[in-house]
Amino acid sequence: MLNIKNLHAAVEGNAILKGINLNVKAGEVHAIMGPNGSGKSSLASVLAGREAYEVTEGSVDFDGKDLLDMSPEVRAREGLFLAFQYPVEIPGVSNINFLKTAVNEIRAYHGQPPMQAKAFLDMLKSKQKLMEFDANLMNRSLNEGFSGGEKKRNDVFQMAMLEPKLAIMDETDSGLDIDALRIVSAGVNKLRGKDNAFIIITHYQRLLEYIVPDFVHVLYNGRIVKSGTKELALELEEKGYDWLKEDIRLEEPVQ
């Protein structure tokens, strides 16, 4: 589904990603871990098409199409979803209208007619139930005055509504208390299927107890330095990242 080859990216001339290679197939969940500043969130931003990031080398294939050639909204319509580390507030824009617009824009892109109000509300209700999402938040302005946890849950709820092929979750667990974490994880698990895939970016192994990944990658200094299965996450939890840094230093050629 997603094939990243030798991806390099920079912000204002500073190299942030330095040759990422990653292959994600339908039905898989990949976790990306790594210390602060290793480039995890940058990878999410580059994939979603944030303007400040300049791709300097490499390619990204998304279901047979050149992802890097698409505008951010086209990437979204093609089925790439980003759950934000910091979802923004948009005052005065109702959550429902926003979702309806998003759903219909995506449908229009695929040549489908706009959803009828009734059908949309039915879908809204069923997803609300599935994700245990507070109906009161639905009628409020988009994220306005939401707590950190509510914003994250709103993002995951949007994910349920938009049914993306590939969801990238950028530190969705940060700012969530243990109950919210459980609910969000349960929601994600319900959305997992053989046709979609997840990239879960996180600092902590805790989230991965709830959403069990098929693969774990460690990102350090703009590169994936180690890949493994879920056991790798446990190892990281136990030992921290320093042992990996040591390994890498040994591998780096002496200047």
Binding site: E51, S71, A76, L82, G92
Partner: protein, 481 residues
Amino acid sequence: MSAEQDILQELAGREYEFGFETQIEMDIAPPGLNEDIIRFISAKKQEPEWLLEWRLKGYQLFQKLSMPTWQNFKLPEVDFQGVSYYAAPKNKVKYNSLDEVDPELLATFAKLGIPLEEQKMLSGVAVDAVFDSISVATTFKTQLHELGIIFCSFGEAVQEHPELVKKYLGTVVPQADNIYAALNSAVFSDGSFVYIPKGVRCPMELSTYFRINAKNTGQFERTLIIADEGSYVSYLEGCTAPMRDENQLHAAVVELIALDDSEIKYSTVQNWYPGDKDGKGGIYNFVTKRGICKGKNSKISWTQVETGSAITWKYPGVILQGDNSIGEFYSVAVTANKQVADTGTKMIHIGKNTKSRIISKGISAGHGHNTYRGQVKVGPNATNARNFTQCDSLLIGDRCGAHTFPYIESKNNTAMVEHEATTSKIGEDQVFYLNQRGIDNEQAVNMIVNGYAKEVLNQLPMEFAVEAQKLLSITLEGSVG
């Protein structure tokens, strides 16, 4: 009757016959401003002597007054002698139904998206359409008539209800208020007149569409609305104007009078031609609007959505004279390209326990400049006066400007005056967030702007709110790359 007059009348009659087949003929006064022109206008409109005197007094004041210098924009030179002060469709007849109205005129309205017939049936809105300066179609008159409501053109009111016009004209906006108000009082063409009798709640939104059509004729509308004791009225004013090369002056005066326990809600969607991308052409919209809460427990509420005009310069205000009266001002002003808006309100607290509320939302894009200028004045007898002002500015891009000039003056120490102001930029983060959900830039900006202006748009009647939202979108089209 002299032979000459006979011939004139015959010609006039002939024109009437053929008038419907060709372009609407205009009866245009030669450009220029002098006493003769004023007499000409007054005679054309068959006005009583007292009104002519009043106009002439206005003209004298106009000559004495000088241009303001406090505005936050460069006031363009206006050639008052180059303007024609009277233009009217020549074949003025009274219509009993829309079928009798010139089809070409109706087609023009249709182009502007104002199908009278449809509005009549669908929205229950009585429309007093002003085409250039003279009213041509008035609907729903009968229904209003049964309730004793008077809703007619200003000219008609002068003929049929002179006592009301004489009693209230110029009582809220004095002729000497400012140079443009003086000019308007000298040369006003037509406008609307509304009177709601005691205890009557007007069952429909009263609506007038203004439109500038004749070339190079300034529009000088005059509107007077009187809500008698315990009555209620909601009035809508909306306007569109076609493309135009020369600058056009629009200097209207609106006066509202609310007596005891009455309420007037006045909503405007202003969409005059704003000029091209370089600011060429466009309307100068220099308007004086003011209401007085004359009676106790009365309320006046102004709501305006200003998207058009090269320059918008107006401060709809409320004089809170009656005890416990309430004044409100809700405004969205958008400036794109080279547009300028210097707008706000005046709330003058005179009576006890008077309250005012000001919500102003400025949006600047392109090279647009948006100024909020407001005055809150609390008089010595205005015990327990309350004011809340919120004035927000939203910037799109980095070449536009937002400015705020709030003036607060309190002479009563029981008064409470609050002022809040924010300035924000449409964040790239917000746009990107919406992009990431499949929404393109244009629509993302629309959503953000409409959300920002929602508090004001919510004040508008439903059908107007939809139109206003569309206008915001159209105005900001292409302002985010």
